[in-house]
């Protein structure tokens, strides 16, 4: 995905100030930055989830496969099927585990019959590393799982519609260390198959899981590059201050 | 939180009872209030004659009404309740006449009714047999081939009582068997003669005679039973049905030629006369209004015959005591 000069406004207030970035398909990209700097806002522009906020307005262009997703006539439904999203707090639907995964394929009509659907569900759960844990309780409620399992369920749900990009907004911030480790592993496994963008407030996490890191500050993207470079050898003063704990 | 209601006095006159008398009582109350602005205006409630009597006879004192409006005469049983509860002195005043009129919508069903026809059509068990009539023609082949549908007053009302006594019992007694039954088993007789069918052909319309008028207005095949005043009021919409060949008109009712004519009464609790300010004056106001062509006549009251009216007028100032003997003499002058 390519973003060029993207600015986002909430009413009169500018939350993102002309950010340009190329997100590469076979990498994990991390967005870091202090609270309120606009990481989530920018992430949500990537699959137009910002449309749900009445006051939000986006300028600039964002292209997916060379196609501007903000052009008029762009089909948001299809876009969102192609660019999946995982949220900060796990948000499984209050339905069965099976139904949670099957939801996307069903509404999009991706499955030909029940058997196919079963296959999709199994495949998605396997990829999310959850199959073994839940295969005997597919008809339990998704909300009955533990936090970490719920988050993996949400990832499985996103995978089930075969997206091209997966956006994750602080997917581990509500989880304990063990669950966090599991998700980080999973991200590592999914890398290469999907383009992954992850927002995190933990620099350590960014260092662990990502290959590219973008540092945001006060709505601007300050620096973007190889993760190892950013953490060991930042070009900008602000990045350095942040990484060494001067603020945030 | 504090402060008591207590007391035991009341300033305004309270009258309860018949819905038939209600409009007249309202009217008298209105003119009373105008003529005597110093007194509080009387409180008139329409409860139906039966319930009104029960309240009236519950005792003396501020909590009980001063006047019972009635569209029939007080029953000896009610009189006895009154006596038992300490309501010893009661004055009965006949304020005028009303007819229970049978009517249908203008242009609707017409027939010449008789008490016997009505009894056969409306009784729960005509002459002790099972009620089978569905159409008027089932009762009498000369009548229209239309379903029986009669809207009438509920069992609480004096109009219903009048219907029972003036029409149903009369129709019932036409059969000698029943005449005999009356002698042998009074209860059985009353039941057979006055119980009204409840299979939907007789529709009990609540205490609201106006609704009955609206009902029959909307259904040309329906017949309504209500006070004559309502027929008079709505003469542009509904027509009275003849009974025994007599039309329900002012003249026919005041002469008792029409079989459904009945007197209307108010009963005054004499003990309250000096306790409720204005009660005497209020009763007296009735006499100034009930004359032929007077204000009450304008809203449908038929004036009593002259002799009765004179007696009643005297009663409004002298307050003669009602006795059980008075009540046991003929219930309705014919």
């Amino acid at each position: 995905m390519r973003a060029r000069d993207v600015s986002v406004f909430y009413g009169p207030k500018q939350a993102i100030d002309s950010v340009s970035i190329d997100i590469e398909t076979d990498h994990v990209t991390a967005f870091i930055g202090p609270s309120g700097c606009g990481k989530s806002t920018f992430l949500r522009t990537l699959n137009r989830m910002n449309d749900t906020i009445a006051s939000a307005r986006v300028e600039g262009t964002i292209e997916l496969d060379g196609d501007d997703i903000y052009r008029s006539g762009m089909d948001v439904v299809q876009l969102r099927a192609r660019v999946g999203m995982v949220f900060q707090r796990p948000n499984p639907f209050p339905k069965t585990i099976y139904e949670n995964i099957a939801y996307g394929p069903k509404i999009h009509g991706l499955a030909d019959g029940k058997d196919h659907l079963d296959q999709i569900v199994e495949k998605s759960l396997r990829r999310a590393g959850l199959w073994e844990e839940v295969k005997d309780r597919l008809s339990d409620s998704g909300t009955a799982l533990s936090g970490g399992q719920q988050q993996r369920l949400c990832i499985a749900r996103a995978i089930a519609v075969e997206p091209e990009v997966i956006l994750m907004d602080e997917p581990c911030s509500a989880l304990d260390p063990i669950a966090t480790a599991k998700i980080e592993e999973l991200i590592d496994e999914l890398r290469g198959r999907y383009a992954i963008v992850i927002v995190t407030h933990s620099m350590q996490q960014a260092a662990r899981v990502s290959q590219r890191t973008a540092f945001f500050h006060l709505g601007k993207m300050v620096e973007y590059g190889e993760t190892s470079d950013i953490f060991t050898n930042p070009r900008e003063e602000r990045t350095k201050d942040y990484i060494t704990g001067r603020y945030g | 939180a504090c402060g008591g209601g207590g007391g035991g006095t009341r300033n305004s006159i309270r009258a309860v009872g018949s819905s038939t008398v209600y409009p007249f009582a309202k009217s008298v109350s209105e003119s009373f209030t105008r003529a005597h602005p110093d007194f509080s205006s009387p409180i008139i409630e329409s409860t139906g004659t039966g319930a009104g009597m029960q309240l009236f006879c519950a005792g003396v004192g501020a909590n009980t009404p001063d006047i019972a409006d009635a569209s029939r005469r007080m029953k000896p049983a009610e009189f006895e309740t009154c006596q038992a509860n300490g309501v010893k002195d009661i004055t009965e005043i006949q304020v005028g006449l009303d007819g229970i009129a049978f009517a249908s919508a203008k242009g609707g069903i017409t027939m010449n009714l008789t008490p016997a026809i009505l009894y056969k059509a409306l009784a729960a068990n005509p002459y002790g047999e099972k009620q089978t009539a569905k159409k008027w023609s089932d009762v009498d082949p000369s009548l229209p081939d239309l379903p029986i549908l009669v809207y009438g007053p509920p069992s609480t009302s004096g109009t219903r009582d009048a219907l029972k006594e003036l029409v149903l019992e009369v129709g019932c007694e036409a059969d000698p068997k029943m005449e005999a039954l009356k002698e042998s088993d009074k209860d059985k007789f009353t039941q057979t003669c006055t119980e009204v069918r409840s299979d939907g052909s007789y529709v009990d319309q609540g205490e609201q005679d106006n609704l009955i008028v609206q009902k029959i207005e909307g259904n040309p095949n329906a017949i309504g039973v209500f006070g004559f005043s309502y027929l008079e009021e709505n003469a542009d919409k509904i027509q009275g049905l003849h009974m025994n060949g007599v039309e329900p008109t002012y003249a026919n009712i005041s002469s008792f030629a029409y079989p459904g004519a009945r007197p209307l009464y108010i009963y005054v609790k004499d003990a309250h006369l000096d306790a409720i300010p204005g009660l005497r004056e209020f009763v007296a106001s009735w006499a100034t209004e009930w004359s032929k062509g007077g204000p009450l006549a304008k809203i449908g009251l038929v004036a009593s015959p002259a002799d009765v009216m004179a007696k009643s007028k005297a009663a409004t100032t002298e307050f003669p005591k009602l006795t059980i003997a008075d009540l046991k003499s003929a219930a309705y002058p014919k």
Partner: protein, 417 residues
């Protein structure tokens, strides 16, 4: 990976399905719009019907009668302050006959027979308030009786139609705005009724309701939301309040009948009993909305105050209550509006009697607006149909104002902390 090429979300089949999904979306949305429009249309229909009918109810049919008092020889003792004595004196001097005479002169014998029997009183009142008119000719607009009014309006007794036609062609009869409707009380003649008695009854009743329900409701809400320990007793209180809020209003009528009228039988029909009954009904509404308003005050404010050593009572009365007040008021107004429109419980406690004069106080018999509407709706005369609608308009105006204030308050003070 081979399956990266056949992404299922980018097939023509997917796009075809998409069209159908959008159509379904549109239908669903229209159904929603339809539902809400239905409500709006019904509301509009109701209001329009009432208004169309009710406008007529604010008028009455009057005839024009000039009276030349110079010929009548009436006198009025100007020192006489008492209105009713003046009235009696005028009646004694034959004012009714004077009015009849001039009515006959103006309208003919048949027309004079159809003026309201109350006409001379109107004339008398005019003279009393303006004694100078005894020295000249004055033209009065006197109400007709209801028969002629109906005839003029085109229905009712057929025999009066020609008279109405004649008077109309002479320009002597007309339907005129009748503001007296707002100042008179119940009557038997639709030409002479007014709603002031019922309105005053409503006001007195509402005063009692407010005086009882508001303080009790607010205090109870404060207790439950701020202090109540979690135990069986407070559970009981809470359950009773929630249930009371949904108990049918007629049950409150039964309570009023059995309890209040049992204790104070001679206060039957009195606003104080009605007010107490309605207060019990309104109190839970105030408690519940009050609790919501109190709940909406952010805990951080309580924490802030507690942390500098305010006692729990100080926290509530210095901080929570002032902040929750707009919300509590909104709830109170809505509860009061409901009480103002309530009919059924008042029927149970005798506020349905015919009372021809406005109540003097909290203990004199009265009726209230909605019950008056109910009673009039039962009258058959066509005049009453319009009067009923007019009374409904008055009631609705009150309620709309109250609801409007509540909505305004809510929008004005709605805070997202």
């Amino acid at each position: 990976m081979s399956d990266t090429i056949t992404l299922p979300t980018r097939t023509p089949a997917f796009e075809k399905r998409l069209k159908k999904r959008y159509a379904a979306e549109k239908r669903f949305r229209l159904a929603g719009l339809g539902a809400i429009l239905f409500s709006v249309v019904v509301l509009a229909f109701l209001l329009v019907t009432m208004t169309v009918n009710g406008i007529g109810g604010l008028t009455r049919v009057e005839v024009t009668v000039p009276i030349d008092f110079r010929e009548a020889g009436l006198t009025i003792d100007r020192s006489q302050r008492n209105e009713s004595e003046s009235l009696q004196s005028l009646q004694g001097q034959g004012l009714p006959d004077v009015v009849d005479f001039y009515a006959e002169k103006a309208l003919g014998k048949d027309g004079a027979a159809q003026i309201s029997s109350d006409s001379w009183r109107l004339v008398a009142n005019d003279i009393i308030s303006n004694p100078a008119s005894l020295d000249r000719e004055v033209t009065f607009n006197l109400p007709t009786n209801k028969d002629l009014a109906n005839a003029y309006r085109g229905d009712g007794k057929a025999d009066l139609q020609p008279l109405a036609k004649r008077l109309q062609s002479e320009g002597k009869i007309a339907s005129r705005l009748d503001l007296g409707f707002l100042t008179r009380s119940d009557a038997t003649d639709p030409q002479l009724v007014g709603i002031w008695g019922a309105l005053k009854g409503s006001m007195l009743t509402m005063l009692i309701t407010l005086a009882l329900a508001f303080p009790i409701g607010v205090l109870a809400a404060l207790y439950l939301e701020e202090y109540a320990p979690k135990n069986r007793w407070t559970d009981l209180i809470e359950v009773s309040i929630n249930n009371l809020a949904a108990v049918p209003s007629i049950i409150f009528g039964l309570l009023g009948l059995a309890l209040f009228l049992g204790l104070f039988p001679n206060l039957r029909s009195a606003p104080i009993i009605g007010g107490m009954t309605l207060a019990l009904m309104t109190m839970p509404v105030i408690v519940i909305s009050g609790r919501n308003a109190i709940k909406a005050v952010p805990p951080s404010i309580r924490d802030g105050a507690l942390a500098i050593g305010a006692s729990p009572v100080q926290v509530v009365f210095h901080h929570v209550l002032p902040l929750a007040l707009p919300g509590i008021l909104t709830g109170t107004i809505i509860g009061m509006a409901r009480a103002l429109g309530e009919t059924a419980p008042l029927l149970m406690i005798g506020m349905r009697a015919f009372v021809a004069t406005p109540p003097e106080g909290f203990t004199s018999p009265a009726t209230v607006l909605p019950v008056q509407i109910f009673l009039w709706s039962d009258e058959i005369d066509r005049g009453f149909v319009e009067r009923t609608s007019a009374a409904i308009i008055v009631l609705l105006i009150f309620l709309l104002c109250m609801n409007g204030i509540a909505i305004y308050l809510r929008n004005r003070f709605e805070k997202k902390w």
